[in-house]
Amino acid sequence: MTGPPQRPRVAVTGFGVFSCFGWGAEALRRSVFEGTPGFRPVGRFDPAPYRVDRAAHAEQNPTLAEALATAAAEALRQAGLADPHRAAVLLGTQGDWTGLTGFWRHGGPAPATAVAGAHAPLLAAALGIEEGRRRVFNNGCVASAAALGHGLALLADHREDLVLAGGGYLVEEEFYAKFDSGRAFTPEPVMRPFSRDRAGLLLGDGVAVLALEREADALARGVQPLAILAAVGMAADSYHVCRPHPSGAGLSRAIGQALARSGVPAAEIGYVNAHGTATKANDSAETAALRAVFGDRLPPVSSTKSCTGHTLEGSGALEAVLSLIALRDGRLPPTAGFTEPDPDCPDDCVPNEPRDQPLRAVLSSSSAFGGANAALILAAA
């Protein structure tokens, strides 16, 4: 059973991505599901002022607007909806801050793409979509999960018939500098989520857009859903501005809400794609949240950020795509770079090697500054 009976089920019918592995979901799948990290020396700007000089950025260097447009076009193509007249465009992003850096370095006009809210109308225009809601969520690392949750609500309530939801972040100097200042980066060349010696995160490119529609509508036009977006839950920690509650209070509430709303029994969740930022505080708090919900029946948990880096506002959508691929292929992506277990982290974090396992439903979790948390459940169609 997947979804409360009184509301229509919402299907994912297409997706497109850009990541540190380049264009397309296949490049992402090939690397992440083999546990190949994408970290490299930063080449997009001079990292000399900073403590760390690595990130998971692609060889290609598209603008955020270009990456969003390409990913969204791919999602529509896959959904068989090449030229929609109307669609809601819901994105999670802070905007393209290379424009802000350029403004303060060189002056000139302010580029619209530096403002988060400009990206939804710009994307709609790039795709020729004339009508529908345009919304940009910029609540940090839960932003694109929030966009997906809002899209689910709009479709379930019949306020929209087609939603493009996702988001993105591309490695640039502004956020790199702030995360360096906050000492969030690991000095190691890779991230080691859930390892006892984990020391922090590295940033990564991540843009993903998903096409959502009601399952019945997709089936009626002969399109087989890729998965059901069963629920998204969100809740706050009420604890600290930049540290998670040690018990994972907000995240466990968000997961509980998502489970209750989806109708998916906890025992049916076969895999958790964790936020897993490889910081001491996050990984143990997240584990506490998962243990509070699942008890001693915690399913395998992995952090694909060990391969993609932390893609900030893009992470909720990118990890939704990775969760969907896991569900579709019956294969768990590993936690790469794993060294030794930490009793405060999951017993089974799919260390270093992928694993074949049939799945009926998966959970993806995200957390952000301010103690904001999101949990997303995808179920087999």
Binding site: W97, W104, P111, A114, V115, A177, K178, A236
Partner: protein
């Protein structure tokens, strides 16, 4: 949804002065300075954060859900440009080849100030931030409506803030006016917060007085909601 409380700070001063300022109809760029508010402890100085916290806290101060658990209240913060002061400070550092001060790490996203509020009161609902154009108020209200319907919340706090005076603001305002075909950012700092509860509106929406079309649409819409609430609260207090 109905507005339980509202609070607004801007060139008019504080909320009680808002109806008079709106009635005067002078919305030009030469306005009295927006009141300066105490700096938020633990944050680098930012009028955006101070205004957001102040207006939201004023709404929450009169709201007593009871119980010792965090209240099931969500927050939606809407802003076209976001926290310009924090962003500009970090950008200047980067442009100068310097590392920004550590507080700008968590001030890099507007959700941090919502987390601060969720601790102060305390609150357990979703924390949402939105950026957009002329329909920003409508977007925020629809998000709030969904949250009340789907998340089982007791209330949703919806806020709107534009603040920070640096040369990025007029440059960005010009660019966005071209994009949207109308101005979407006021010249001055201001914030409006609305505490929304389930239920029908307390009063019918008034016809929009002439002259208000000079105001950028997001601000005009939020001020209209706050004005309605102020009138309702004054009527309630006098009966």
């Amino acid at each position: 949804m109905r507005v339980r409380h509202s609070h607004a700070v801007g060139p008019w001063g504080q909320s009680p002065d808002l109806p008079g300022w709106l009635a005067a109809g002078d919305f030009g760029p030469d306005q009295p300075a927006t009141p300066e508010l105490p700096n938020l402890i633990g944050f680098a100085k930012s009028p955006f954060l101070n205004l957001t916290r102040h207006t939201m806290a004023e709404c929450l101060a009169g709201w007593h859900p009871g119980g010792d658990q965090p209240a099931a209240l969500g927050i939606v913060l809407a802003s076209v440009l976001g926290d310009l002061t924090s962003a500009d400070q970090a950008s200047r550092s980067v442009a100068a080849g310097e590392v920004p001060v550590p507080m700008l790490f968590y001030q890099s996203v507007p959700v941090s100030v919502l987390g601060r509020l969720s601790i102060e009161f305390p609150l357990s609902g979703p924390l949402i931030c939105l950026s957009g154009g002329p329909e920003l108020c409508e977007s925020a209200l629809e998000c709030a409506e969904s949250m009340l319907a789907d998340d089982g919340l007791e209330a949703v706090l919806v806020g709107y803030t534009e603040a920070g005076q640096d040369r990025w603001r007029p440059a960005a305002a010009r660019t966005l006016a071209e994009l949207w075909g109308q101005p979407v950012v006021p010249d001055w700092d201001c914030a409006v917060s609305l505490l929304l509860e389930p239920g029908p509106p307390a009063t019918a929406a008034p016809a929009e007085p002439a002259g208000r079309d000079q105001l950028p649409a997001p601000l005009r819409d939020f001020l209209g909601m706050a004005e309605q609430s102020q009138i309702s609260e004054q009527v309630g207090a006098s009966t």
